[in-house]
């Protein structure tokens, strides 16, 4: 059932995108073929697509994890920034050998994300402050913290709006992978994403903590009645969610890139929400949804270069595909009706209700 929902939403997205292409006088067949060629045509392009997908996987996991506890973590961009900032600062100042430095840099990014997410988590638990509002505010605090710290202490000598480049010893990029993939941006981040996915699945399905969190997500009042500490779980869920976003910051700023830019909110943080929605909050699904999004993003430019359509239309087409892909809830709600329409007999299921985001 869940699979059907994701598949239908993606198909709908492509149909809508195809209509848009037709209306701008382009052939959707060639358009979509260029789109996928752009993302997957060569080894370098495939690896670049995966490299682009890695931060999306982690922010998608981050949002998914908070969703499971009924929290909406829209603070992933801020958590990415702080995670990335701590990692960058450590990488620039520590001067340790790689075997020591790399784990430290990874740990720093986790701590940064955790701290930044703990604040909304605590405010939610202690004062019932809506986490959406506090997360968005924390995003802007992070934005300006990065701005001030970098422009005052770590400004690049060549470009004033960027930080200094981190030493190779602290980067997730390795020469072996770069050579093997013919100069792509792929780096060790992919392994971090895989490990994180496995850990999230383990926590959610195999631990008491995960059980409690899901219980809170299904119905917080029932969970509280059952003796689960809802407050503690809210903070913990945000902290773990923040750690994942912090790692996303690491893979983006110390892997995909080698420095940070000031005055930029990372879009991967927000895209993580769409990734989580498309994956229907299934951790493994997040991995593939992130790759799907990355193909759209990296393939778009090639489609655009090959087709006689302006970039604005190309952007709209991709946005339409994403928009429909993220409407999975709508399709899920109407799935029974769709089935009835096609006259199939199926016993109705009600287990999907637990996946709904808690409304405030």
């Amino acid at each position: 059932m869940k699979i059907l929902v994701s598949v239908i939403s993606i198909l709908l997205g492509f149909v809508a995108g195809a209509l848009l292409m037709l209306s701008s006088g382009a052939n959707p067949l060639t358009g979509f073929s260029y789109l996928f060629q752009g993302g997957l045509k060569s080894v370098t392009r495939i690896c670049n697509t995966i490299a682009y997908a890695v931060p999306l996987m982690l922010t998608g996991l981050s949002v998914t994890f908070a969703f499971k506890t009924g929290l909406f973590n829209i603070g992933a961009p801020g958590q990415m920034l702080i995670g990335g900032l701590l990692a960058n600062v450590l990488a620039l100042t520590a001067g340790l050998p790689r075997p020591l430095l790399l784990p430290l840099v990874i740990a720093a990014s986790i701590v940064g994300g955790m701290v930044w997410a703990a604040v909304p988590g605590f405010l939610k638990a202690r004062f019932n402050v809506n986490e959406v509002v506090s997360c968005i505010m924390m995003n802007w605090v992070a934005y300006w913290v990065v701005y001030i710290v970098i422009s005052d202490h770590f400004k690049s000598t060549t470009i004033d709006t960027e930080s200094q480049v981190i030493p190779a010893a602290a980067s997730l990029k390795t020469e072996a992978i770069t050579l093997l993939t013919k100069g792509s941006n792929l780096n060790l981040g992919i392994f971090i994403a895989i490990i994180a996915t496995a850990l999230v699945i383990f926590i959610l399905n195999r631990t008491v903590l995960g059980y409690e969190m899901k219980a809170v997500g299904f119905n917080r009042f029932a969970a509280e009645y059952g003796g689960i500490n809802v407050q503690k779980n809210a903070v913990l869920a945000m902290v773990i969610s923040g750690a994942l976003s912090g790692l996303a910051g690491l893979t983006f700023y110390c892997g995909y890139l080698s420095n940070m830019r000031i005055g930029v909110m990372p879009s991967q943080g927000f895209d993580g929400i769409a990734v989580a929605l498309l994956a229907n909050c299934a951790p493994v699904g997040v991995v593939f949804a992130a790759i799907f999004f990355a193909i759209l993003q990296t393939g778009k430019g090639f489609m655009n270069a090959m087709m006689p359509i302006p970039p604005e239309i190309a952007d709209t087409i991709i946005a339409t595909v994403i928009y429909f892909a993220a409407t999975s809830k709508l399709i899920e709600m109407n799935l029974d009706r769709i089935k009835k329409f096609f006259g199939r007999k199926r016993p109705s299921k009600s287990e999907g209700s637990g996946e709904h985001v808690e409304h405030h």
Partner: protein, 382 residues
């Protein structure tokens, strides 16, 4: 059970990427990709048998109509397209980083574009890499030069033309013209991030005002704290707020040089002018007279400090078509070769002021006036 479900779901999403494509193609699936693959390889062979030039551009903003760098560069490319019938295309980078720009350059190259033009300093690292990866492609980088991260000096390959503007010279002429036009008052400025091109505009503008104060008896005040770095090129609300503060603190002219943020400054000035206040702004990079238009057809834009991006872009394309492309060095566009200055017509400047401003521009051209690129001390004009 759930795990299996999740795995199946994941595979299905993977499959659906292809299905999404396949469902459009129906029974033609096997032939269509092969066909289009052939098409995509064809342009790569084009330069050999057909010398038609395809000129591409990568934007460093989310839109081409930024009323600044991207728009002006694209205007030069479209003019060249009309005159020479070349194929053109601009791409907007999904991710505005060196890696993201490089990806778009790769897209243009793979699509057969052999001349790629990039506006602005944000491209220095991307072009540094690209000029080595694609030696058979010509690159033009405006207002900057290709440079590796953390490197001491730029490194310009033979297939790259790096164009630099003497921005301080246009700042000087504008500052001088404004001072001469208004004679009394206090000037402030709204800038974006503290980057070298804006620093040049700032120091030139201040020197121009000082030149008018000392030689033409004008009385314009300047306080260093009223030359504000807003930190953003894309925040119109912030620009409006800062400009309001500047006007409130006694400035009657604000030099707005920061892309979209500047448009907020324009809006504040327009709102005040509609209410009858006598306030002015100065535009940047392109002629921004139109951006300052009021309902009655007047404009709050006194003049603009221009970089003639459209002309330099056009010149570069023409040079390439004529086989006279000069790469491997920094090409300076200044007052001498018409690369910088103020607009030819400024409806808000009186004829005498325009004449004096033209005279000053001449003096800069002949070297009689030398505009320093170093920061200016305005403490004597508080």
């Amino acid at each position: 059970m759930k795990k299996i479900l999740a795995t199946v779901l994941a595979i299905c999403i993977g499959m659906s990427m292809l299905a999404g494509c396949g469902s459009q193609q129906g029974s033609e699936t096997p032939s269509a990709p092969a066909d289009s693959a052939a098409q995509s390889e064809a342009p790569a062979e084009q330069p050999a048998d057909k010398p038609a030039l395809k000129v591409g551009m990568v934007c460093n903003a989310k839109t081409i109509d930024d009323k600044s760098f991207n728009q002006a560069t694209w205007a030069g490319i479209t003019r060249a397209a009309e005159d020479f019938g070349i194929e053109t295309k601009y791409l907007i980078a999904a991710d505005q980083s060196a890696a993201g720009f490089l990806q778009e350059i790769a897209n243009l190259y793979d699509a057969g574009f052999r001349m790629i033009i990039t506006p602005g300093y944000t491209f220095s690292k991307a072009i540094f890499d690209a000029q080595k990866i694609y030696p058979d492609c010509k690159f033009v980088i405006l207002d900057s030069a290709p440079q590796d991260d953390g490197a001491e000096a730029p490194e310009i390959a033979a297939n790259t033309a790096a164009i630099d503007y003497a921005a301080q010279e246009s700042g000087f002429v504008a500052g001088f013209a404004c001072a001469l036009q208004l004679k009394e008052g206090e000037f402030g400025a709204l800038f974006g991030q503290e980057i070298p091109p804006t620093k040049l505009f700032k120091t030139g503008f201040q020197q121009g005002v000082i030149y008018a104060n000392e030689n033409f008896g004008t009385n314009i005040k300047m306080k260093e704290e009223n030359f504000v770095w807003s930190g953003s090129f894309s925040d119109a609300a912030l620009g409006q707020q800062i400009t309001a503060q500047l006007f409130n603190s006694g400035c009657n002219l604000v030099y707005c040089a920061c892309g979209t943020t500047a448009l907020g400054g324009f809006n504040e000035a327009k709102a005040r002018a509609e209410k009858g206040e006598e306030v002015w702004v100065v535009g940047c990079d392109v002629d921004q007279y139109e951006d300052g238009l009021l309902e009655d057809g007047r404009s709050v834009t006194l003049t603009s400090t221009m970089k003639n991006l459209a002309n330099s872009t056009y010149d570069m394309i023409k040079a390439e078509l004529d086989g006279e492309f000069v790469g491997g060095q920094q090409i300076i566009f200044d007052a001498k070769n018409g690369g910088v200055g103020i607009p030819e017509t400024n409806p808000n400047l009186s004829d005498e002021v325009q004449k004096e401003a033209d005279a000053v521009l001449e003096k800069i051209k002949t070297g009689e006036i030398v505009v320093s690129a170093e920061p200016t001390d305005v403490s004597a004009y508080n």
